[in-house]
Symmetry: C2
């Protein structure tokens, strides 16, 4: 019983935060789609948004299977995730793409690390909903082309990416500080402080690779 | 050759107008989702939006098969459809639902009538993309509940629905006046003025049934 008691709230928390993250990702991608300079770009971002809502649906279905009302599981994460998006609203098409690629990439890596500590079937479910939906190549191509056309764009977008990461850290610290289950899962899963340091190193390395892929200084 | 020449522009026009209609429907449903009073409502409208983008994708794939760049096929319809949405922007959750149910219902009926005159495989493709995606029941339930709670809501929403229909007529007349292929298809397909009158009667009847389903005076 004790194992169940410590794991279950964290499972519900992780499914809940992910479900709300997918819903807000939908909103934001749908909003940013309208910043697209072409109908193709508009449709491309709209398709990414649609993929997020499919994931949201699967997570909510699983929560209902666990007899948890999805809205209740999402509730603790509404404020921090809304705060993140409100403080990092893209004002240009390229900012939106960087946010989709760099911001979602970092969040996805983090959720994937945490998911590794989950029991099945939730581990597989979460990993599947985090699988790349082909957004990456599109964003990389568009951002690189824009930087090639005007090198000053790269400097501005690198600053923007740094702001995204800063806000993401602020909000994720707030979430972990409030959700004991998630914090326990993270500490138990990683083993010790060295484990957490390793996790942070992996996140930082992958983030640096994404920045390089876009042609941005980290 | 002459049959091909008269039909093909109309096929491209119909696929193009539908593809752009689906893209704007996505935008608008995604925008209206954020007016939802609950996370469930928010997710429900987001799912409807996602269904539209799937249809958009299929229509664009077909246009590419016909060697037509989707953006080119959509271009003539960007202005009238944007004008329609700009002039009928929902300011409340219920207005958004009425627009999704009554406005999209009328448009869908009209496109379905025109699709009946298309050669295969486009007839089937268009009819499939127009198939109801389960939006209807959700909108009906929410609107009826709101009217039951406050009868004045019904009067305001009935006026709103009338405005939607007026704007839709204005914009569709503008489209047909400019697209000879679509006008030809409609006239050839219906046969004569009686045929067009019958078509209008069918549209009006179905519209009235949707208004009744919502509990609104036509």
């Amino acid at each position: 019983m004790s194992a169940l008691n410590t794991v279950e709230p964290a499972v519900v928390d992780l499914l809940g935060v992910l479900a709300y993250a997918e819903l807000t990702a939908f909103d934001r991608l749908a909003e940013d789609a309208r910043l697209a300079p072409t109908l193709e770009g508009h449709a491309a971002l709209a398709r990414m948004a649609a993929a997020e809502i499919g994931h949201h649906q699967r997570l909510c279905d699983r929560l209902r299977e666990l007899d948890v009302e999805p809205a209740r599981a999402m509730a603790p994460f509404v404020r921090p995730l809304d705060a993140f998006h409100d403080s990092t609203r893209a004002s240009t098409w390229l900012e939106g793409l960087v946010k989709a690629y760099v911001g979602d990439g970092l969040a996805t890596d983090f959720y994937r690390e945490v998911a590794a500590f989950l029991p099945e079937p939730d581990r597989t479910l979460v990993l599947e909903t985090l699988a790349d939906s082909g957004h990456a190549q599109f964003a990389v191509r568009e951002v690189r082309a824009a930087i090639a056309a005007d090198r000053r764009v790269g400097g501005r977008l690198a600053l923007w990416a740094r702001r995204l990461v800063g806000e993401a850290l602020t909000q994720s610290q707030a979430v972990i500080a409030e959700r004991d289950g998630l914090a326990d899962l993270l500490i138990t899963g990683t083993g010790d402080l060295n484990g957490i340091a390793d996790l942070l190193t992996r996140l930082t390395t992958a983030h640096g690779e994404r920045m390089s892929a876009l042609g941005l200084a980290g």
